[in-house]
């Protein structure tokens, strides 16, 4: 069923009784050309682009919970492509371009809102680093502008300019950055993939990876064995757990990242702001809640819940940036499990095991990457060659000494 204002009008006249399911609930078939493990944003996007762009439609997406129950449903919805390094920058820009045409592409309003992303700086060194970054963006044709203190003040006069411990000196602004309604991304991709024949199988947990003569032939699941030509893992957060089923150890640790939403407010802040002197970032959802977060808790965890001390830290940084926040309230917190990689950058690559493909290591930046991740992973699976923007995301880069380390913090995942 195609969605439009007209369909809403017509359905509304008849009591909204004739809307049909957005996606099927198929029984798993015994064999698929491609089985994708993980019905989150990346897995669903991969299936969508496999079917839509690469003509591979005999595809199943296996999700152990409900659709989008992983990180696509528990993030802070920010999209941007303000990356520094050549391994990252073109990839995230591809992603932003795909976001820009996404809704028309899959006929689902995911509320892509390019309201701008502003990274504040508070020292000369930070300014220099942002200058370098902004210029790297401009070299690739990405929009970037360096705002001075007064330009930031004109945009966001309620930040703490006058009593701050770390005064705001300016910011790096990407006008095309913004936010997207995160759940709708999963639903939109699912609906688009489903309509092209992809089987999205919810509540189907993969319990083992079957190999014959070292070649992957299928997966054991809570709903029986499912054979496949190619097996693609898109289980960020739990990548190590799924990879271990094939005997693979990954350069990844799983960490919990908490995020928060406030009570609903009338329009308060109209862009995404990150606080360069403390771990804090904030935007406002279309529903009115401030959506914000901070750093990861720092210890390995699969628990989807974090510590109070981190919450306090986020509140401190929030109030330091915007003193008016003090009287507003946290409504809810949640925790997502992040694949923190050894250099802070992702992996989209074949594995040493034949027929096994890996999409992992997104750290806390997986959401914004969703379209390009799906596109490039589909490219890799369909063509057995990396997409040109994802060439650097190799699994062997660590061993060979080519880390993509935006922050320069080295092989300690919880620092990225």
């Amino acid at each position: 069923m195609r969605y439009s204002a007209l369909s809403i009008f017509l359905q509304g006249l008849t009591g909204n009784r004739r809307w049909t399911p957005a996606f099927r609930a198929p029984e798993p078939k015994p064999y698929y050309d491609v089985v994708i493990v993980g019905g989150g944003g990346h897995g669903l996007a991969t299936a969508y682009y496999l079917a839509r762009v690469f003509g591979v439609a005999n595809v199943a997406v296996l999700e152990k919970g409900y659709l989008g129950s992983g990180n696509v449903g528990r993030n802070t919805t920010i999209i941007r492509s303000n990356y520094l390094l050549p391994g990252n920058n073109p990839f995230y820009e591809l992603s932003l371009k795909l976001w820009e045409g996404l809704e028309q592409d899959f006929n689902f309003n995911a509320m892509v809102s390019q309201r701008g992303v502003l990274n504040l700086y508070h020292s000369d060194a930070q300014r220099d680093a942002y200058t370098r970054r902004g210029n790297a963006m401009r070299l690739h044709g990405v929009d970037a502008e360096l705002l001075d203190r007064e330009a930031v003040r004109a945009k966001l006069p309620f930040l703490d300019f006058d009593n701050a411990r770390f005064p705001i000196m300016g910011g790096l602004h990407q006008p095309r950055g913004g936010t997207v309604r995160h759940d709708a991304v999963a639903w939109g991709y699912a609906r688009g993939a489903d309509s092209r024949g992809v089987d999205i199988i919810q509540h189907c947990e993969v319990t083992g990876i079957r190999r014959e003569n070292g070649v992957v032939t299928g997966v054991e699941t809570s709903r029986g064995f499912i054979g496949c030509g190619k097996l693609a893992l898109a289980t960020a957060g739990h990548s190590s757990v799924t990879a271990a089923m094939a005997g693979l150890r990954l350069p990844i640790e799983s960490h919990v990242l908490q995020a928060f939403v406030s009570e609903g407010l009338k329009p308060f802040i109209d862009c995404v702001v990150t606080f360069g002197a403390g771990h804090f970032y904030v935007s406002q959802s279309d529903k009115g809640g401030l959506v914000f977060g901070g750093d990861i808790d720092g210890y390995n965890s699969y628990a989807q819940r974090g510590a109070l001390s981190l919450v306090e830290h986020v509140a401190e940084a929030g109030v330091a940036l915007i003193p008016a926040l003090s009287r507003l309230r946290f409504l809810r917190s949640w925790g997502g499990i992040m694949d923190m990689s050894m250099d802070g950058s992702p992996i989209i690559d074949r594995t040493p095991i034949e027929n096994l493909y890996l999409n992992a290591g997104w750290c806390y930046g997986g959401f914004k990457a969703t379209p390009a991740s799906g596109y490039c992973f589909a490219h890799l699976i369909a063509r057995d060659a990396s997409h040109e923007t994802a060439r650097a995301f190799r699994l062997d880069r660590f061993e060979r000494g080519y880390p993509i380390d935006e922050k320069g913090l080295g092989a300690q995942p919880n620092l990225h």
Partner: protein
């Protein structure tokens, strides 16, 4: 709407009148009122408007889960949106405003959305607003955002104070209702350390709003006795107005204490305080939430929970109307009816869907068995109701409705750490495990019925929790007769004509849930996300179980098979203020002051934040108009005369031990083991991955004592790294560390005349023979009056010394040096001049050591020892990517036209290349204006840069629209052969 104050009764102080305003109307109330009770007493019906359809809304509850009566309190910087009127204690001068309505709550233009509701079904926005694409951001989204949201926040800084505190106890009791009081008393009498928290402004819970007889006493008497005894026990701390909001690992509870209404007058107490309570055991006695019934118009102002009706009647002597109707599935409705009748209010009827209603009803009101209310009659309030009794419809007059669909145990806190609630068919509710490690659920929260049952259950469970701790306690209340539980499920009334709301605040109707299910979003989590049910400020406390029941019915399964959404912190919304505490404004992070801060201030320093430190940045003198003038002067003066710079912020670590030398050999990539006593050496520390971590000078003061310096930024990191290596990698080495950053005031005395200045105060021979370059010694000053450490090291490239003196004497010594240096033209110089001096010499800092460079990249390749057996980073240095030819290498850059300036962060491009990322040659890491050379200079990391000296490049800065011609050169602009070090 006809809410009113009864002439008698209640726990309010009628002798005092409090004046407050609501939407500009002046009203009065009494101490003991909440804002909600006072509004009811003043006949206010419509308190606000709902989120989506702007329906008029009144007051639903008397507690913290109130979804409708959200108001904005206060004005200006102190205004506070989305405050539940039910939780606000009335105070004199209180100002409250309704929300989400224009021009007023009573007449709101946005109510037109209600007429459009057929087209605004769940998820409608996902299906439209997509064409034409640009209109989303320009038109649709701004309209949606403007319409959405609840209250309006002030953007001015919050003027109030907040605090945090730790607390420790044997037993934390959450909730001071009957179960909590029983638990606290049981534990209190045993001598255990007890903390009792309760979110109301007085303890009592359900005992505060009930009549009749409990354990042989009136609830009021019983409560007074219990509280009286508790208050006299020294081992019990009662925290009223305190809501436990989160249960965290290791039995840590977060609780927020609100100031009472009089806090403004007391001045020094915080407005809110976050308690971090470490409890060995905890009892969750949070009671149960009464469930609304889902029928047409159930959101009309005047439709309330029966518990709220009882509470307002008993505590504040406020009645919801003069002719209320009761719609109930359980005994609560009858209790409310009895209280109303006792207060002289005529109850128009009791509608009960059960075929066998409460047998003991002795009141006057007629009971309609096997009947339901299908719809409310009335536009902005209640004028009557449509009854459906076995298919027969009739109308009944009423001016308000009290409803009760049963009770949902408040198990939220018990399920915040991953445990899944389990459906109990007997209770028609989800229950948490009665006991998890450290937490026991008691009373109504555990599904226990009745006040006596709760008293006993709390007592019993406290005793057994204390037993876990090895403490002996006797339950304060003995066993109570068990109530014979009769539960009845009515998740929604069928056949309603009007909209029947499940989530009031978010305007989620029965139809929305059914639509979500039809469209494939029937999983409880998907239904929540698709319809927004349970996402309002009450987080589904009022509506979620009904939503689950409705989904279960639609899918033909039990509510247990539907399951709940996940309970997460916080139990109620918590302010940023409470969570931030006093760490705000200038106190966001502590300030670190150099021991020479006072000296720098005296000399007119401009300070800049550097991590937590304030460092002196430059020292303007009269007549200097720009910072550059001052910095240029300081730089030139150092090169021609002498300057004094505070370098106290550099990290300083004493390294002791028989194996200290061996240890340092493994820490630095260059050799230290053979460093003689009395000498210093520049060292480079790698990370295990082979990239540079930090650099600094380390001196040997004795065979078993080194003095290490680190960069300011990594002082703490390096110490941790050393400790890791010593304790984890090589615990067999005898080596110990003491940070002495704060012990020493350290100053660089640099410039050709530095020796002459120093000679005035030091007691040692400073001749080049006696104190050569890289000498490092413990010396005395002022004829033996003061011990100090002197190092002949140079960051500026000039003859220079670093003098470390005990911090308390720092200012005095600096003063002495300035005085001694006056004849030589000494000046104070700051971090900016230091930066210029080092860039002129090509010395690196963290601008260059950015975590992605190797020693070879920076030209230190020869320093990396090839003879030492092992050191941190050695093995991984061999990787292909770390030795490849096109790695960035440190170079200098200068403008071809000396008038051109450029910025750090500019990229380096070849002049004829297309400006695309693939052609990027590198970037400028540091820049300075060299007063020595009279033009800008820079350091850069350029691919294969060491072979490219002399190459013309573009210094490319699109952000600044500056593209200048530059030349790559050696990374040293002044004195490349280091003659000045000895000058």
């Amino acid at each position: 709407m006809t809410g009113f104050r009864l002439p008698r009764g209640g726990c309010i102080d009628r002798s005092r009148t409090l004046r407050f305003t609501f939407d500009g109307r002046v009203m009065v109330g009494h101490p003991g009122d909440t804002l909600a009770s006072a509004l009811l007493a003043n006949g206010v019906g419509i308190v606000g408007r709902s989120f989506k359809y702007h329906r008029p809304r009144g007051i639903l509850t008397a507690g913290s889960s109130e979804p409708n009566a959200l108001v904005t309190l206060g004005e200006g910087a102190s205004s506070e949106p989305n405050t539940r009127a039910t939780m606000v204690e009335l105070s004199d001068g209180l100002i409250a405003r309704s929300q989400n309505c224009w021009p007023s709550a009573a007449f709101d233009v946005g109510a037109i959305n209600g007429l459009l509701s057929p087209f605004l079904s769940a998820g409608f926005y996902y299906k439209t607003f997509m064409w034409p694409a640009p209109l989303w951001e320009k038109l649709y989204e701004p309209l949606i955002r403007k319409a959405a949201g609840l209250g309006r926040a002030s953007k001015a800084p919050d003027p109030d104070r907040y605090e945090k505190s730790w607390a420790h106890c044997d037993l934390l009791v959450i909730g001071a209702g009957p179960a909590g009081l029983g638990a606290a008393l049981t534990a209190g009498r045993s001598g255990a350390r007890v903390i009792l928290v309760d979110e109301d402004h007085e303890p009592g819970g359900a005992l505060l709003s009930t009549g009749g007889d409990v354990a042989g006493r009136s609830p009021t008497t019983l409560l007074a006795d219990l509280v009286g005894e508790l208050e006299n026990l020294p081992n019990i701390r009662i925290l009223s107005r305190t809501t436990a909001v989160g249960w965290y690992d290791d039995n840590l509870f977060g609780a927020v204490e609100r100031a009472g209404p009089d806090f403004l007058s007391t001045g020094h107490a915080p407005r809110e305080r976050l308690w971090r309570i470490v409890a060995r055991e905890a009892i969750l006695a949070s009671g149960a939430e009464e469930r609304p019934l889902v029928f047409g118009g159930n959101d009309r102002p005047g439709v309330m929970m029966t518990g709220a009706v009882s509470s307002y009647l008993h505590r504040q002597a406020v009645a919801p109307g003069r002719r209320p109707l009761i719609f109930t599935t359980n005994a609560a409705g009858y209790h409310a009816a009895a209280m109303l009748e006792e207060a002289g209010i005529e109850v128009s009827g009791i509608v009960d869907p059960r075929t066998e209603p409460e047998a003991e009803w002795r009141g006057r009101a007629p009971v309609f068995r096997n009947a339901v209310v299908t719809d409310v009659i009335g536009g902005r309030g209640v004028s009557g109701a449509v009854l459906d009794s076995e298919g027969r419809r009739s109308r009944i007059d009423a001016d308000s409705i009290a409803m009760s669909g049963g009770f949902t145990p408040r198990i939220q806190l018990a399920c915040q750490r991953g445990c899944k609630p389990v459906w109990s068919e007997a209770h028609l509710a989800f229950l948490a495990p009665e006991r998890q490690n450290g937490l026991t659920v008691a009373g109504a929260a555990a599904g226990i019925e009745g006040l006596e049952g709760a008293l006993h259950d709390g007592s019993r469970k406290a005793a057994s929790a204390l037993k876990e701790l090895g403490l002996d306690a006797k339950p304060a209340f003995s066993a109570a007769p068990l109530n014979d539980r009769k539960t009845y499920a009515l998740w929604r009334v069928a056949g309603t004509r009007g909209a029947a709301f499940v989530d009031f605040q978010n305007d989620v109707k029965v139809d929305d849930l059914l639509l979500a299910n039809r469209e494939g979003y029937g999983h409880v989590e998907l239904a929540k996300r698709y319809t927004t049910a349970g996402m309002a400020t009450d987080q589904g406390k009022t509506g979620n179980l009904n939503a689950i029941g409705i989904l279960a019915e639609a899918r033909g399964v039990t509510p247990g098979e539907i399951g709940t959404t996940t309970f997460r912190p916080f139990y109620v919304p918590v302010s940023f203020g409470a969570l931030a505490g006093s760490a705000r404004g200038k106190h966001f992070q502590p300030v670190r002051r150099s021991p020479l801060h006072g000296w720098a201030e005296k000399n007119g320093a401009v300070f800049v934040e550097s991590g937590l430190w304030y460092r002196s940045s430059w020292f303007p003198r009269p007549g200097e108009m720009t910072w550059r003038e001052s910095v240029d002067r300081e730089v030139l003066n150092v090169r021609s005369n002498v300057g004094l710079c505070d370098v106290s912020t550099l990290g300083k670590i004493e390294v002791f031990g028989r194996d200290a030398a061996t240890f340092l050999d493994r820490i630095y990539c260059n050799a230290f083991a053979k460093l003689p006593v009395g000498r210093a050496r520049y060292g480079i520390m790698l990370r295990e991955d082979g990239f540079i971590y930090d650099d600094g000078t380390t001196s040997r003061l004795a065979d078993d004592h080194f003095f290490m310096t680190t960069t300011t930024a990594l002082a703490a990191g390096v110490l941790s790294h050393l400790e890791f290596c010593a304790q984890v990698l090589w615990p067999d080495l005898d080596v110990r560390f003491a940070s002495s950053t704060d012990q020493w005031a350290q100053m660089a005395i640099a410039g050709p005349k530095s020796r002459s200045v120093l000679e005035a105060i030091v007691d040692v021979d400073l001749s080049d023979d006696a104190f050569p370059f890289m000498a490092a010694r413990e010396i005395t000053l002022f004829g033996g009056k003061l011990s100090a450490r002197l190092f002949r090291i140079s960051f500026s490239g000039e003859r220079a010394y670093e003098l470390a003196v005990p911090a308390g004497f720092g200012e005095s010594v600096a003063d002495a040096l300035m005085a001694a240096g006056a004849p030589y033209g000494i000046c104070a110089y700051g971090a900016e001049a230091l930066g210029v001096l080092r860039i002129e010499k090509g010395h690196v800092t963290h601008n260059e050591i950015n975590g992605t460079v190797t020693a070879d990249d920076l030209g230190f390749g020869k320093m990396v020892s090839s003879t030492k057996t092992d050191f941190i980073g050695r093995a991984m240095l061999r990787r292909e990517g770390l030795v490849s030819q096109d790695r960035p290498q440190l170079v200098g850059v200068r403008p071809v036209d000396p008038r051109d300036g450029f910025k750090a962060g500019s990229h380096i491009m070849r002049p004829d290349d297309q400006t695309v990322l693939e052609n990027d040659q590198g970037y400028v890491t540091s820049v300075a204006f060299s007063p020595h050379l009279g033009h800008m200079i820079g350091l850069a990391l350029v691919k294969g840069g060491r072979t490219r000296h002399g190459e013309r490049v573009v210094i490319w800065n699109a952000l600044g629209e500056s593209y200048i011609e530059g030349e790559v050169c050696a990374p040293c602009f002044v004195d490349p052969v280091n003659e000045r070090l000895h000058a």
